[in-house]
Symmetry: C2
Subunit: 114 residues, 2 copies
DNA sequence: TGCGTAAATTCGCAATTTCGAATATACTAC
DNA sequence: GTAGTATATTCGAAATTGCGAATTTACGCA
């Protein structure tokens, strides 16, 4: 069962492992938003947004409800916001290392290894 | 910068988005362990373990120190354990939905869609 | 020096993820 | 019915990930 639990956790992490999906979750922090509103606010391609929303739906991180023409999304459990906040603290407490790490990653992408 | 922060968070989530890597982090909860000990405890292939450890190192989730012939790993920041514990609570509070979700996923893999 | 052990890296290869373009579905209003 | 809008899904290509086998690197010891 512990193995099962780890698989579950890994799937949740995987669902959150994309900047756009994190942006969506954070945008829903203040309350429900329609897909269209999310697209506008985050400046996303329509199909791309829909695909990311599908991932979040599949992992039950968000729930959707139809209202006439549009679909509103909301966070199923605010505990995920708690997790994101912890990550923010994590980020700032390791800021200097983090920055150099990010820089490293970028320069590697520019000039990929030797 | 907020975009940058999201990229950073996404990378951390990505690093944790694998059952084996979660198992490694949890195994390090109680203190340092050598790579060999981790391999034995988690019953991993040597190269596979090393690759997962490389991911965790790259994202600075673990730090390593050499001691003679072997390499000991430790968690850089116990706050990640906190995150995993929150996930556990999340898991149990949504247990019934989670189980059906997992079942769904498995059956889809067995008989992929229609 | 050479041998043995611990760990990291490299090498295919298969599976998964991500993207935008295109298409399909669902609803509203006329 | 048709037209228009909102959202979801499908498609194909590029990039990334995960794996075990094989190899390499690094260390301790005789």
């Amino acid at each position: 069962m512990s193995q099962e639990l780890r698989r579950f956790k890994a799937e949740i992490f995987q669902a959150l492992a994309h900047p756009t999906r994190i942006a969506i979750v954070e945008a829903l922090r203040g309350g429900d938003l329609s897909a269209g509103h999310l697209i506008e606010k985050l400046e996303l391609e329509q199909s791309n947004a829909s695909q990311h929303l599908a991932v979040l739906r599949a992992k039950q991180i968000v729930t959707s409800r139809k209202e006439g023409n549009q679909v509103f999304y909301s966070l199923r459990d605010p505990v995920l916001i708690e997790v994101l906040d912890i990550m923010k603290r994590y980020f700032y407490s390791h800021l200097s290392q983090t920055m150099s790490m990010l820089k490293e990653i970028r320069s590697e992408k520019a000039a990929p290894k030797k």
